[in-house]
């Protein structure tokens, strides 16, 4: 059974400028212990999706359709009240910009202890000890002393380790990592990703890695879902996706990724820009940018996911 199932999820933002249909008919599943990558350009709905799963969407966001099931529990329906207990305990999230994602005026050890005393049913003193243990677990040197430091006294990489300690303090079953290494240097990036990978393997934790960095996703994920303008356009195992991309957008994305033997000048950008998500949109939101677009693409509603082989799903009328 899958740990997390997202089914036909649609979400809109009601703004003064009109209704932004940020997610439309998104379906995804994450198995136990699996690492799923979610890739796409900025604005494709990756973060909105993860906030919706965690139930921490902006007040202007409205889920119009679909379901999110965590271990069979419907988080948007009956399980809504249970979500408060799940967040931080069974499912956690780490964010980009760790320096501003931590409370600037609270010692990091205390912030971890806050989470522990909320979920783990331990006393304040036990929580403090456990917080130091967590800091040691995320390989922060001298954890006793670091527990009494404030975020501004630590480097970005250290702050991200604290964020991971915060998220994993209660050994969750699902971790959503939203661009966890954006803004960190390459060495730190590798160290942080290794750390997440190791800790996930240790406890058979499922991970959703949200990133715009295809190379990172290729390296770290079992399966990858490609998002474009609020749609999931392709899902496949990592090897399959890179070997045989079926959606034109995926192919373009892969072509933009730097790799050895290809000069910068040879990298091709994806033409056009994301469509405005307000107002009427064609069934295939990529059609305005697509070089393979033909009149037949617009004929009739687009079957969202066409099962090509068992594990490879693509939302396109004329796949590659």
């Amino acid at each position: 059974m899958n740990l997390l199932e997202i089914e036909h999820l649609s979400l809109e933002f009601r703004t003064r400028g009109g209704t932004v249909r940020a997610l439309e008919d998104v379906s995804l599943a994450v198995g136990k212990g699996e690492t799923l990558g979610v890739v796409g350009e900025s604005g494709s709905g990756k973060s909105v999706l993860s906030f919706a799963v965690m139930g921490i969407s902006d007040a202007a966001a409205k889920v119009t359709n679909g379901a999110v099931r965590f271990e069979g529990l419907d988080l948007l329906g009956d399980g809504r009240s249970a979500l408060d207990e799940l967040r931080g305990a069974e499912m956690s999230m780490i964010f980009q910009n760790p320096r501003v994602a931590l409370n600037p005026i609270r010692m990091v050890g205390k912030q971890i202890a806050d989470v522990l005393s909320r979920h783990a049913g331990v006393t304040r003193d036990q929580a403090k000890t456990r917080a130091v243990e967590m800091l040691a677990k995320v390989r922060i040197p001298d954890p006793e002393r670091r527990a009494r430091a404030y975020p501004f006294e630590m480097s970005g990489g250290m702050c991200q380790r604290v964020m991971i300690a915060l998220a994993l303090a209660c050994s969750p079953k699902l971790l959503i990592a939203d661009e966890p290494t954006t803004g960190l240097d390459v060495t730190t990036q590798a160290a942080i990703m290794d750390l997440i990978g190791d800790l996930a393997r240790e406890s058979r934790m499922s991970t959703i890695l949200i990133t715009h960095d295809l190379a990172l996703a290729a390296e770290r994920c079992d399966r990858i879902a490609v998002m474009h303008a609020g749609h999931v356009v392709e899902v496949a195992t990592t090897a399959e996706l890179f070997a045989h991309p079926r959606h034109p957008y995926t192919a373009k994305l892969i072509a933009t990724t730097p790799r050895p033997g290809v000069g910068l000048a040879e990298l091709e950008p994806v033409p056009g820009a994301l469509p405005d998500l307000r107002g009427d949109l064609p069934d295939c939101r990529y059609s305005t940018r697509c070089e393979r677009h033909r009149a037949e693409c617009a004929a009739g509603p687009l079957a969202r996911m066409i099962d090509l082989t068992n594990a490879h799903l693509v939302a396109c009328r004329r796949p590659l």
Partner: protein, 338 residues
């Protein structure tokens, strides 16, 4: 770290205090009105006026008068008030606690209302409570204090009879508690005179309420604005994503971060109220230093005015110091900068 910060702020305050001494001296001399003529009375001969002028030292040149003034200050003498006939230092010392007690009571009342109101308004922008907060703040700040004061007296003393007569810090039948801090509420508790405490509290309620009504506006608005900013910040999202309870997110994470600008506003409101509540003191016959300074000013009585301004300056410096310390307690980054 904190001690270092206090020392630096104290040293930094010296130039401003010197400036205040010079400016108050110049200002009082530049004021219209001749104190010698005023005290000689309307029927005095020019000769009598000259005599008084000589007695007051006002016939000396300005630099000499200034030197005299500095010498007095160094000895802790603020001079003699011509209207009350008492040393100014003694007058101010007797009246300052009354003003401070009233202002503090008003501010605490205001904070009790303004903080929850601002937080509630920020958590639900555009809701009825947000609009209520806006109406309350606008009304509070646009009604002049003497008007709210009179209105409260009219309703609660004259119509309903719930409040005692607005006749100062205590009614006629109660005697003041032994002076320890000068605050009647605290002194009466320390000496165990609970009847006095009740009487002092009853007298204090209406004027404190008047000041509170006025100061709720800036505090609530600043709390709301600051909370709105903090609530949309990344670390509050992290706290929510970690499933921390609503109370912890709102108070420990959001409010503490939102307090800095509120503390600044608090300091400004406090120093404003302390000197500017003359009208409230008048309405409630409150023996504070605001009314003392105004009476002295009307009588061209230099010494009390100078003493008043100097006291206010010292208070202001102390207050800013307190606020800096509070800043340091709230925000560790401030401590490091010091």
């Amino acid at each position: 770290m904190i001690a270092h910060l206090i020392l630096r702020r104290l040293l930094g305050a010296i130039p401003s205090l010197v400036a205040v001494v010079v400016v108050t001296f110049m200002l009082t001399r530049a004021l219209p009105g001749d104190p010698a003529a005023y005290f000689a009375g309307p029927a005095a001969t020019p000769q009598a006026i000259e005599e008084i002028r000589h007695k007051l030292g006002l016939d000396k040149s300005l630099p000499l008068q200034f030197v005299d003034y500095l010498g007095d200050l160094a000895r802790g003498e603020f001079g003699q008030s011509l209207t009350t006939g008492q040393p100014v230092a003694q007058d101010i010392l007797a009246r300052l606690p009354a003003s401070v007690e009233l202002t503090l009571a008003g501010l605490i009342l205001a904070l009790i209302v303004a903080l929850p109101l601002g937080v509630a308004a920020a958590t639900r922008p555009g809701s009825w409570i947000d609009h209520l907060a806006r109406v309350v703040s606008t009304a509070g700040v646009s009604l002049p204090v003497f008007f709210t004061g009179l209105l409260l007296v009219y309703v609660f003393y004259y119509l309903l009879g719930w409040a005692p007569a607005p006749m100062g810090r205590l009614d006629l039948f109660t005697s003041a508690p032994r002076t320890i801090t000068g605050f009647f509420l605290i002194d009466s508790l320390l000496t165990g005179e609970f009847a006095t405490f009740r009487a002092a509290a009853a007298q204090l309620t209406l004027p404190a309420l008047t000041l509170a009504l006025f100061s709720v506006a800036p505090l609530a608005r600043m709390t709301r604005a600051s909370m709105l900013g903090v609530l949309s910040s990344d670390f509050v999202r992290t706290a929510r994503a970690n499933g921390l309870s609503r109370g912890t997110v709102l108070v420990t994470y959001a409010l503490r971060n939102a307090l800095l600008p509120v503390v600044t506003t608090l300091g400004m409101v406090f120093s404003f109220l302390l000197g500017a509540n003359v009208l409230v003191e008048k309405v409630f016959s409150w023996p504070g230093i605001g009314s003392y300074a105004i009476e002295a000013l009307v009588a061209s009585d230099y010494a009390p005015v100078q003493g008043f301004i100097l006291t206010m300056a010292v208070l202001y410096v102390t207050l800013n110091l307190l606020i800096d310390v509070l800043y340091g307690l709230i925000d560790p980054r401030v401590r490091i900068e010091a």
